[in-house]
Structure formats: structure tokens, C-alpha cells
Point group: C2
Chain length 297, copies 2
């Protein structure tokens, strides 16, 4: 299967699962399920679940088990977007061209929908009957890795650093990288690593995949900064130049456009190199790294 | 050990553990750990962790394993209070006589501190090395039960129903009970049940303890409603009559004070009766049920 068909195949699987997962209709708290459904089905690039499924396929793991991990991580990602959009955080009215969760359902319901998605992720992950091949011990390792990556040492920690440095002119590349490695990088890393644990990867494989994910995650973020500077508004679906307007420190403002593009390219090469030991089986992940580097949205 | 000494013994153990659990100091996201620490150390009755420890002692389980469960559930309870106090929810400035988390640290940090406590609870629960006696399978059952109880079918669901019925004059006793069984009841039930799973309780024991917890949880809530009506402001540390002022439907407004007191007493008796099969070992839990019924704060 070529790259375009394969990524569509993964997207379709993920979207089908996500459209079926919150089907509680006959209860007094229906509104929160509607809000959760609205946000998980709002689309997006699905990078994290695609990574989890692709790593599973590469390692010969059970796709059903990887899907449980993939969807749980996408729920965590979606909760983080809902909370991030709230008035006390970024105060965004639109996401992917649609009203944000709190604009559509009200702030209180959006807050609870975010809490609900985060809690659901762990309920879903802990359901041993939902796995075909993972042992209870492996499932615990998966939950541990995902919780660490989503928590204060990971994603939440990155959001805090972002918040604390808002409007600061003193952000160094070191702080920016510390922030992005957590805010975006941690969940990308666990998408790869939790799926590798499920597929029974050995330590050498896990180390290589961690290097792949870390380089890919940072390249992904730098590319975001570049697109905010030179992207096409129509293709992106959002106004460009917002980082500069908000005086936000990015890789582009710190390094300049040319050096940022070089860094993103170098990191993508590092990500691809980390996959060497997996041979031909890593073809899709290599193409995915290039796809993310050359994306225009 | 008599009841007063025993409950103090449990409180001291819980408070010591909670004072040591968030000790990250040398990181860029220190503020979120400070906010989490502030809220978990703000005190409170610690009903949920005390229940978890007492059930463990009654069943002869490992107290270290029960403590991990107890503290994780208290973190989930604390996160729910932080989010509940936010301006988009109850907009409370004070809790237990102290500034609420968002008043002290700002809304964004409080939101993230709540998210952090919820995520930490699952990280803490999934750490197999932290248990002495629980098998990986038992730990997964514990995480499942806690996540279900904290999620949209449980605590969050109760909050949603509360929110949706705010200011409504049509709340029936059925809806009120549906709401409280989830908003307060679910976390009380899982404090008892998760600890019972850890201690290796059989199905008959789990059924009896579920009956105990369900009756206790509802009695606890009705007593809260009664205290808001006839409590002493100084002892409670908050103004009384706020439910009536906010035209909130409570068991007192629905049933009248006398019938509400009768219902709370009946439920406490039911809770105590459910413990019959445990004989003398249930003494502390029986006394705890009476203590909660006759509390004045």
C-alpha cells in the first residue's frame, strides 16, 4: 500500500472508532458526552494515533491493542485542546474553523468534557478485556508511560512553562525546547513508546523509537512555527503571522527562518536515521517524517 | 485503639503522605506543583482515604497498597474541588476558610493543577513497584473501578446533572439522588471497593461493602444539606443558609428538615447493617458511619 492510501486507511480506522466510542444517549448527563463527541470528531491530523498504529504494524503487534492506545492518547490530546482553548488559557473561539468546545457548549460543560476525556482515556486503557495480546503487566507499563507523558513532568508541565513565559522576551532556545519537548513532544513520544510496549519491543528497539519520536516531535513543532510565518492562510485554515503579532517567541523568531528550516530538516533526518535498524518495515514511518516536514498545514 | 485515636492515626498517615508526594522543586513548572500541594494540603475531612485504609485494615490487606489507592482518590477529589471552584463553575473565592486555588495561583494554573492531580492519580495507581501485595491484574481492576467512578458515568456525570438543573424548580428526589450517587457517592464507593479489591475481598464481601458505601455516601450528602440549614457557622467555617439563598433543591427543601434527618438516620442504619458479616472487625467502620451522621461540620 502506498503512503497516501496507508495514511487514509489509518485515518478511517481511527475516525470510525472515535465516532463509536461515546454513544451514551439515554442519561441525564448526555450534554457532556455530546461535547466530548463534538471535540474528538472535529478532525485534525491524528498524528499521535497514526504513529501508534504504524509502530504496531512495523513491530508486528496486534492492531486491536494498538488502537486502544491510539484512541486513548487522542482523547488526552483532545482534552488538552479543549482546556487550552478556554478563556482563562488561550481564549480561542475557533479551532479548525469550527467553534471551540466552550463556544458551542458553554465553559462549564467544556471544562467537564475535558476532564471526562482525560478520565475516559485511563478507563479505556485499564480495561484488560479490551486487549488481545497485552499482559496485565504490559498494560500497567503502558498506562504509566502515558500518564507520565500527559502529566506535570510532560504535557501539563510544558503548558505551565508556556504560560509562565507568555510575553517574556527572555526565552532562550533551551527554554523553548524544554517547553516543546513536554507540551507537544511528550504525547508524541508516548504514542510511539506505549505502542512499542504493547507490541513487545525490546530495550534496543524502544531506545531507537524514543530517539525517532523525540526528533520527530521537535521537527513537527518547528514546522508549525515556520508555517505560521510563511504558510497559506486558506490551506492552514487559520490566520498566519499570529505568533509575530502576539510577540511570541518561536524557533523562527529565535533562529531566523532559514536556520529554523535547516533545524527542522536536520531533526527529520535524525528521526529517519533512528529507524535504520528496522529496515524496510520502517518505510511508512520514514515517509511520515518527510510528510510532516513538507506539509503545508 | 478507640475511634478518636484511630481516625487521628489515619489522618496523620494520610497527611504525611500527601505532604511528601509533590516535592518537585527544581523545574521550570514549579508553580503547578505548588498549586497542587496547596490544595491537597488544605485539609478537609479525608473521608475517602480514611475509608480506604479502614476497609484494608478490616480485611487484613496491606496498608501500603491501600495508602496508594487512598492518596490517589484524595487527589481526584481535590482536583474536582479545584475545577468546581473555578469562575465558570461555582465561582468560589474561599474553601475551608482559605483562598481557593485559582484565587491564590490564578485561573490558568488552577485549571492545570486540577488536570495535574487527576493525571497524577493514574500515574501513581499504575506504578506496580509501589505495591507490596497486589497483582498486576488486581491493579488494573482498581484503576478501572476508580476511573469509572471518577468519569462521566460517575463523579463528572453528577456534576453535569447538578449544572444542568441549576435554578430548576423541577428537581425530583429521584433526580437529586441520581445526581448525588454520582457526584459524591461514586468516589466514596470506589474508596471502599478499590481497597477491597486490593485486599483480595471475595464477591460477597464486595457486594456488602458496596451496599455500605452507597448508603453511607447518600447519608453523608443529606447530612451536608441538614448542616447547611441548622449548622453553626463558626464550627462549619462557612455561612449557613446558602442553599436556601441560592434556591438550591436539597433533601431538606424537598422532604423537610425532619424527614431529611430521618432519611439520613435510616441510611446510616442500612450502612451499619450491611457490615454485619464482618463481625467485630467492622467496629471502626460502624463508628465512622455514626460519626458522619452526628458530625457538626
Amino acid at each position: 500500500m502506498d503512503f497516501e492510501r496507508k495514511i487514509k486507511y489509518y485515518h478511517d480506522m481511527i475516525n470510525k472508532y472515535l465516532s463509536e466510542v461515546f454513544q451514551e444517549k439515554d442519561c441525564l448527563q448526555k450534554s457532556v458526552y455530546d461535547a466530548m463527541n463534538y471535540s474528538v470528531q472535529a478532525g485534525g491530523k491524528r498524528i499521535r494515533p497514526v504513529l501508534a498504529l504504524a509502530v504496531c504494524d512495523m513491530l508486528g503487534g496486534d492492531i486491536n491493542d494498538a488502537m486502544r492506545i491510539a484512541v486513548s492518547i487522542e482523547c488526552i490530546h483532545t482534552y488538552s485542546l479543549i482546556h487550552d482553548d478556554l478563556p482563562c488559557m488561550d481564549n480561542d473561539d475557533l479551532r479548525r474553523g469550527m467553534p471551540t468546545c466552550h463556544k458551542k457548549f458553554g465553559e462549564a460543560t467544556a471544562l467537564l468534557a475535558g476532564d471526562g476525556l482525560l478520565t475516559f482515556a485511563f478507563e479505556h486503557l485499564a480495561d484488560l478485556k479490551g486487549y488481545k495480546c497485552c499482559s496485565p503487566g504490559a498494560v500497567l507499563n503502558i498506562i504509566s508511560d502515558i500518564a507520565k507523558s500527559a502529566g506535570c513532568a510532560g504535557m501539563i508541565g510544558g503548558q505551565v512553562v508556556d504560560l509562565e513565559n507568555e510575553g517574556s522576551a527572555d526565552i532562550t532556545e533551551k527554554i523553548l525546547t524544554y517547553m516543546h519537548n513536554r507540551k507537544t513532544g511528550a504525547l508524541i513520544r508516548t504514542s510511539v513508546l506505549a505502542s512499542a510496549i504493547a507490541a513487545g519491543a525490546d530495550d534496543r528497539q524502544k531506545k531507537a523509537l524514543t530517539q525517532f519520536a523525540d526528533a520527530l516531535g521537535l521537527a513537527f513543532q518547528i514546522q508549525d512555527d515556520i508555517l505560521d510565518c510563511i504558510g497559506d492562510e486558506k490551506t492552514l485554515g487559520k490566520p498566519i503571522g499570529s505568533d509575530a503579532e502576539n510577540e511570541k517567541t518561536t524557533y523562527v523568531t529565535l533562529l531566523g527562518l532559514k536556520a529554523a528550516m535547516g533545524k527542522s530538516k536536520n531533526l527529520t533526518n535524525q528521526a529517519v536515521s533512528a529507524l535504520e535498524g528496522f529496515g524496510d518495515k520502517a518505510e511508512f514511518l520514514r515517509e511520515l517524517a518527510d510528510y510532516l516536514l513538507t506539509r503545508n498545514k
